[in-house]
Symmetry: C2
Subunit: 429 residues, 2 copies
């Protein structure tokens, strides 16, 4: 039944029942966590062979490099070849680096503010004089980098085909706007995949800033969970075609393919941009961990091996996504109190509750022992102007824990909604 | 015989003979390299067990952490405990991070110029308004970071007990001077170990800058090659004792203990400084490669295991150092044309030739197929004011190659010296 259509008296009765239920829930002493997109142990075990690889007699890359010694800033060619196909970057323009793609994004932005990027004539100015577009809801760690470096953030609404491109095209006419964050496939947190038209417009649009950059965090390039792959247009190729060859920085990693803390991260871009990044990195490091790259090349020798591997991840993840959807539907379906995504890939469910209720839901859940990503985390500066979005990360808990956590969550959503509707009706709770 | 005491006529005869010898050398078509301090394959093989570690059933740290998943910015406690003893840092103040200590040094300097350090009230200014002291000869990669970030470098002479401390104490009275690079043990390239008195003065000295930092790159903490360990005073303890607890950043790594590109780097400092670095790193990365740290903890479970391991490295390195010394002595001993160090640890021999001859020696060696570190590389901006220092790295070549390379080098030193002495005498060559 639609909560928003109930009378104040009905809501008051319901509130009493919900509060009693919440008290009983608190008594259960749950300690559950839906905050971060961490793989479950069952998923990590899919790559357990890495723990013994490359093996005692194997330390030589295809080109004869002894992976144990210094050097080789671009990473192993065989691993780059495999991921070039998956990340839609020519292998010679893709470099394989350390264990964190976040680190590479941070590095690119630090290099932009310290030294400037290809096509610009100066470092990116800070303190209010450079802004980056942030499709919202989005990824909190992207926003944290900008905030730390003193780069302004301008939110742009996400749609089911990607960011609102009319708004993006309008905003990039300001030369202060020098970039946009994108998680183009199974986006964090809405799971939307950018449409071909969105990708084309991003590649083709005219920007006032000559040194505009698209931070293309393709974190979930091969992470379908529903047995179908959502195609993503080739942004790098399109940017060349439309005369903006240096516009796009592509990022990827194996963090959610193999092991979350000990994978390999990738950077792909135009030849000029790759030279730019490596020129900076050469002063920072003598090279990445090539033995770990060799380990990955042995486990995942080609693109079909990666897809086969990801199908095994999907077999673990899909039931969890289905369980979340079923439990949300069971209690909140038809209530008018919530809407949520049904991801076909990625790691997250994006839950929208009634405006002004997200922080209260998170608080009620915390009281009951269920940790949720802080309300507002999916927006720049942690401020969701409508206080309605909550990111759910169902991957890490086992199914029983996940059931307990989402059942608790749905109670909290209903309780917060009733409180809110009563307050809006001027009825004391 | 002392070349500097020969008559012009004798030198001319000698020049003719040396040129003929150099011509014959060029005809041999050597392709040898003494440029970088890379471990030999024989040394890398000492850690070949890492290639199969931690093993298929082992991914759990002593505190129960699943090393395969995200998190744990400080690194594994058991590995930190082992290296705390070796790097003279309390374990709770030592963090274990990625594969490169150079990267940590770069990170600290970037954070200093972007955000400032503990004890300062602003970021370190750039473009001539911050300077760092550079004991010379020193490590080119340290200098490259400063040059890149626009931090001035002020050379300070190295002695056999460390940097000239009278000069250091004089220079730090300038508040523009905010740091000093130190490789305190088996220094790069002179192999000097700082005396207890030098370390005490560095810890105790008054600096005009309240946010002065010692970059203590203890790269060779356990890298003795001559069977005796040269003791190094505890700079962190001394800095606390003298009222400057936040003065020192300690860096270390296993790059020349286990595998050069796939080891573990460490940062140790005061609690406030560790919190400072981790606060910045937390925006950059979700955590280091803990599986690689576990691998290292399994190979090197405690400090005695590290010392035993390093004794095996010494058995490979010591004969190479002895060979270099013997060949230098054989041709250049008593000529007055060169002096060099006889390292008891570390990776380098520092060779001084006649003033004004180093670049010519490097050129003559290159002509003969022997690559040497560029003359001047051991000085800031690549400029050796006396053009006399050459860093030799004997670790990587096998003994036969090393013999060929050093014999070629000694010929080039003699040839360059004779050319130089003739020119100085006004005699056309």
């Amino acid at each position: 039944m639609d909560l928003t259509a109930r009378t104040p008296a009905e809501l008051s009765d319901r509130l009493t029942a919900l509060r009693a239920e919440h008290q009983r829930l608190k008594g259960r002493g749950l300690r559950l966590d839906l905050t971060r997109g961490k793989p479950a142990a069952e998923q990590l075990a899919l790559s357990s062979a890495l723990l013994g690889l490359p093996g005692l007699d194997d330390h030589t890359a295809a080109d004869g490099t002894d992976c144990r010694n210094y050097g080789g800033l671009r990473g192993l060619p065989e691993l780059r070849a495999t991921f070039a196909a998956l990340l839609q970057v020519p292998a010679e323009q893709l470099v394989a680096l350390g264990n964190s793609s976040l680190e590479l994004m941070y590095e690119c932005l630090v290099d932009a503010v310290l030294f400037g990027v290809v096509g610009g004539d100066a470092p990116w100015p800070r303190e209010g004089r450079t802004a980056v577009l942030c499709p919202v809801p989005g990824y909190d760690r992207h926003f944290a980098i900008c905030e730390k470096l003193g780069i302004d953030m301008i939110p742009v609404p996400m749609t089911h085909t990607g960011p609102d491109m009319d708004e993006v095209e309008r905003l990039v006419a300001d030369e202060r706007v020098k970039g946009i964050w994108c998680v183009p496939k199974y986006s964090n947190p809405t799971a939307a995949t950018y449409s071909a038209e969105t990708v084309r417009r991003l590649a083709a649009m005219e920007t006032a800033a000559p040194d505009f950059r698209i931070f293309w965090d393709n974190a979930y390039a091969v992470h379908q969970v529903a047995g179908v792959d959502e195609p993503l247009a080739d942004i790098l190729g399109l940017s060349v075609e439309h005369g903006h060859p240096d516009r796009v920085f592509v990022f990827g990693s194996t963090s959610k393919i193999t092991a979350a803390g000990s994978g390999v991260a990738f950077f792909g871009s135009s030849p000029a941009n790759v030279a730019w990044l490596l020129g900076h990195l050469a002063k920072r490091t003598i090279g990445p961990d090539k033995v770990n790259q060799l380990r990955h090349a042995r486990l995942l020798p080609d693109a079909p091996a990666v897809h086969a591997h990801m199908a095994r991840h999907a077999a673990v993840l899909q039931p969890k996504f289905e369980l979340v959807d079923a439990l949300l539907e069971k209690r909140l379906g038809g209530t008018g109190a919530a809407s949520w995504t049904r991801p076909r890939g990625g790691y997250f469910v994006s839950l929208d509750v009634l405006d002004g209720c997200a922080a209260r839901v998170v608080e009620l859940a915390a009281d009951a022992g269920v940790a949720l990503t802080p309300a507002g985390a999916t927006f720049p500066y942690g401020k969701d102007p409508r206080d309605r979005n909550i990111r759910l990360a169902p991957s890490y808990p086992d199914p029983d824990e996940l059931r307990d956590a989402v059942e608790a969550l749905t109670l909290c959503v209903e309780l917060a909604s009733v409180e809110h509707l009563l307050a809006a009706a001027g009825t004391p709770a």
